[in-house]
Amino acid sequence: MALAPAGEFHASYRADMTIMPTRNSRRALLLGIVLLCFAPLVLGRYELGLLINIGFMGIAALGLNILVGFTGQISIGHAAFFGVGAFLSAYLHERFHIPVILCIPLAGLGSAVVGLVFGLPAARLKGLYLAIATLAAQFILEDFFARAQWFTGGVSGRMTEAVELFGIRFDREESYFYVVLAFTIIMFVMAANLMRTRDGRALIAVRDHYLSAEVMGINLAYYRTLSFAISSFYAGIGGALYAHYLFFVSVEAFNILFSIQFLAMVIIGGLGSVMGSLMGAAFMVLMPEGVQALADMLAGGWIDRTLKLGASISFLREMAIGAAIILFLVFEPDGLAHRWKQIKAYWKLYPFSH
């Protein structure tokens, strides 16, 4: 099968659950990855930096999407877990001299443990109570970062080392890009597969109707806590990749605004969509560039002078984040992934789309 049929004609369970419906979609994905491998030859360092950002933000956003989109729990403290991963990876390398490439998954596991601790209340709470509990987790962890000198370096922050593998130092955008690309592919394939397993379906059942799920024999407390741990694992991996990209982790970086940015990625990308998380991350990374470009375009004009655009670009970015969340919730609640599906559906039935 090279093209998808104009309708749902799956004859087996296996065919229904497949990630790649046609041969062409698999080819397109492989081609896309191969093309991305050549990106460092074509793109400049700045553009590569943006792609790297999209990569690790996408991983962390995917974690949040597993929690919010697939399990129906909410977290306003995702950036704190991202920060745990960043500091833990740097700490493990410096203290125990573990190779950095191993530190990254270990940091993910460490974040998962922290997530478990804060996820324990989540086993009993849902909806707004959970939102408030994770908000508290955000402030408590932020306070811990500022206080724990041994772990985070306190106010001065912590330096990190570059990833080293087979004698190659991945300390520039051109080389680090491949590290992030590899991690992104692994994490996304893992998430896509998770959703096809028994555990993944249990998470979705908890989201759709938790009472029925419990009646069906799904242990609610177990799966809610598990979902928290998985989400923190992804956040930790993303945070570790962030730490070894910038070579410096500052305590102030993981504030509530950053957490809200992750929520925005998930909403904009599409709740409950694996690829949507990546789309949302791309949107949120590129939007500040768009705002900047707009401000540059207007620079010097009367609009710029009356509104003081140049001096307050950071506020404009924050406003754009808030506005994006609200506009997407009101006008496109299913996010970019849904729009993409509609475009695909249009072409699937092309001449007879109505």
Binding site: G72, L128, A137, F139, I260, L263, A264, L316, I325
Partner: protein, 297 residues
């Protein structure tokens, strides 16, 4: 042990706590009437305080004109916000609504920073600042005024919910929307009204804080401190919100006292309420006065 310091901190706790209580009450008002958890409550304070400040300094209006104009603006603002952002989200999952108010919060916080800058601006002197001695403690007259105002707002709420037609309509809507509608209550109107009242009351609290310690973006942090207060008191209890606010105010200042005397950790003022919040959620998630949500399968 310094008993003088302790008394001073307890008094501070009561004053700040009463203000938390007022904001928490306006938070509970929205939650009761329309089941929306408003993460932008602190921004209501911020916007109200900046609006009043702007009228008083830029337009040089006297306080007794500028203040009501600012409150009138907040009424319109609350209604417009409810109609444009929250009304389309009716029927969406709780998570979407929470995230919409989170979006509103960061949007308005940034907007206020853009319009008025990041530095704290003092209010023009409205009331003579005097120090009054009560039982050997020095208290600024503005603080006494703020406590009196908080008490007045509380009384106002009590009257509103128990005796006024609109307040009873609001309680009926909170109890059961369908039944309320069949009795001729306009539910959309009640929703809009609850947002308007909440915005106005928060703005009053914002102006009070602004008069005492200047207007700055730090005001929006009150909106976050509201959560420990309302969780402690129970999310749908007006009395609980007030009491929770006072307890959180006291807790903050006592934590600061313990910290300054023995622990020396620093920053306990801001973090202690959140530890308390987690503990309450673990042992008594519906708070002191909240309705227990019993689910039977």
């Amino acid at each position: 042990m310094e008993t003088g310091l302790l008394f001073q901190l307890v008094l501070n706790g009561l004053i700040v706590g009463a203000l938390y209580g007022v904001v928490a009450m306006s938070f509970v008002l929205i939650y009761k009437a329309s089941q929306v958890v408003n993460f932008a409550q602190g921004e209501f304070m911020l916007i109200g305080a900046w609006a009043c400040w702007w009228l008083l300094t830029y337009w040089q209006l006297p306080f007794w004109i500028g203040f009501p104009v600012a409150l009138a603006f907040m009424t319109v603002f609350g209604v417009v916000l409810q109609v444009t952002v929250l009304r389309p989200l009716i029927g969406e999952p709780v998570i979407s609504v929470i995230m919409a108010t989170v979006g509103l919060s960061i949007f308005f916080q940034a907007l206020m920073k853009w319009m008025f800058g990041v530095f704290a601006q003092p209010f023009p002197a409205i009331f003579p600042v005097e120090r009054i001695r009560i039982m050997g403690l020095e208290v600024q007259s503005v603080y006494l005024l703020s406590i009196a105002l908080s008490l007045m707002i509380m009384l106002g709420f009590w009257w509103f919910f128990n005796f006024s037609k609109h307040g009873l309509a609001m309680r009926a809507t909170a109890f059961d929307q369908q039944v309320a509608q069949s009795l001729g209550i306009s539910v959309p109107q009640v929703f809009a009204m609850s947002w308007a009242i909440s915005a106005v009351v928060s703005a009053v609290a914002g102006v009070v804080v602004g008069v005492v310690s200047g207007v700055s973006s730090g005001l929006s942090f009150y909106g976050i401190k509201v959560f420990p207060a309302v969780i402690l008191g129970g999310l749908d209890s007006v009395v609980g919100a007030m009491l929770g606010g006072i307890i959180v105010g006291l807790l903050e200042n006592l934590a600061q006292y313990v910290d300054s005397q023995w622990l020396n950790w620093g920053n306990m003022t801001n973090i202690a309420p959140f530890y308390a919040l987690i503990i309450i959620l673990l042992i008594k998630p519906y708070g002191l006065f909240g309705t227990k949500n019993i689910e039977r399968v």
